[in-house]
Symmetry: C2
Subunit: 213 residues, 2 copies
């Protein structure tokens, strides 16, 4: 299929597709002649993922390029490809490491990981952007006066652990490594709003039950 058809089937304007090609988000089509190129179903699929990342995930173009680079890096094993892709996803700005509150929260988080039995996560520790995000959000919550005890955090953590189990069960249903990594990325981008939408719907449901309209 040519550019015009790729645009029509995906619903993405031609100019925008050219931009993605230029920026290296979408691989070049197969050259048919000096001024003509052919695109495959794989391009269509990849374009869908790019749009989802940018429009739903609000991920910057440069970051999308980086993430997709890891997705396509066949020199790595699945686990590393997956980890590299997810670690490249954007994280909120971090709290300064020399802040006393940050130090205190970091220690609390370490203790908490131990209590949860998440020993692998604890070892990876500060290397993981996810870990630092956790510290940062707790620091901010504390600053705003909305922090909760470790017990409340643990309750949330146990629930999210079950969510993670469901996620991994789904990953297991895919044979192909590239598909696994793509699902993991799509899951980070699209399951997040989905989970949060479910949470808010449940909040709406139960708050009307508790307090009425």
């Amino acid at each position: 299929m040519r550019l015009a058809e790729l645009s029509e089937r995906s619903g993405v304007p031609v100019g925008t597709i050219k931009y993605y090609l230029r920026e290296g988000l979408l691989p070049q089509g197969e050259r048919i002649s000096a001024t003509q190129a052919a695109y495959s179903e794989a391009h269509l699929r990849r374009l869908g993922l790019i749009r989802a990342m940018i429009q739903i995930g609000r991920i910057p173009v440069a970051t999308v390029r980086e993430v997709l680079g890891h997705v396509d890096d066949e020199s790595l094993g699945t686990t590393f490809r997956l980890g590299a892709a997810l670690w490249a996803m954007p994280q909120p700005p971090e709290a300064p490491a020399d802040d006393p509150l940050t130090v205190q929260v970091t220690e609390a988080v370490d203790r908490f990981l131990g209590d949860m039995g998440w020993h692998n996560a604890r070892e990876i520790g500060a290397l993981s952007p996810t870990y630092r995000t956790l510290v940062t959000t707790i620091v901010t919550l504390t600053r705003l006066g909305f922090s909760r005890g470790a017990e409340t955090l643990a309750q949330y953590a146990h629930l999210m652990e079950e969510v993670a189990q469901l996620d991994l069960d789904q990953l297991d249903t895919y044979e192909d490594d590239s598909e696994k990594v793509e699902l993991a990325v799509a899951s980070a981008v699209l399951y997040e709003p989905l989970l949060l939408a479910l949470r808010r719907l449940a909040q709406e449901e139960h708050s009307t039950r508790r307090y009425g309209l």
Copy 2:
């Protein structure tokens, strides 16, 4: 306290605070003289919330103004203030309503809400931005070929229902209405990355357990 001190204690540059004042995110300080104004602890706290919404939640300035407008609207009852504030939060762009897949997914979601026993949520239905977000993300997942059956969705929904219960239990610990609404907003902005960070940590933990490094 004057502007300079507000800036120092909050860590937000003076120019930026002026910008927030101009944009109506932060209420004006009390005028001391023609060229001098005094700011309170309330300003400091509100400024923290604004920063969290913009920097961590990546919420547009115009939206922050709208959300805070609802938070401060004392003419509404708590439930409505809370709902209005949360409904003003940004949602991903929606899928076109006339699309056949969208229609199909909408029906499936309605059935699903019935199965969950979320009758209130079902009645509010299309009015709720959250509901439409749910439809949109499922449509996108389906387009990408990553959709799952209603059963899987229900498993996630049950877990998020428990999360929502924890959220509401926390809300109950606050007496003051304004604080309740502020917590709800902070919860939407900051608990979301926190929950997602917990989910990813759990994923990392269990994927290394399942597949090793």
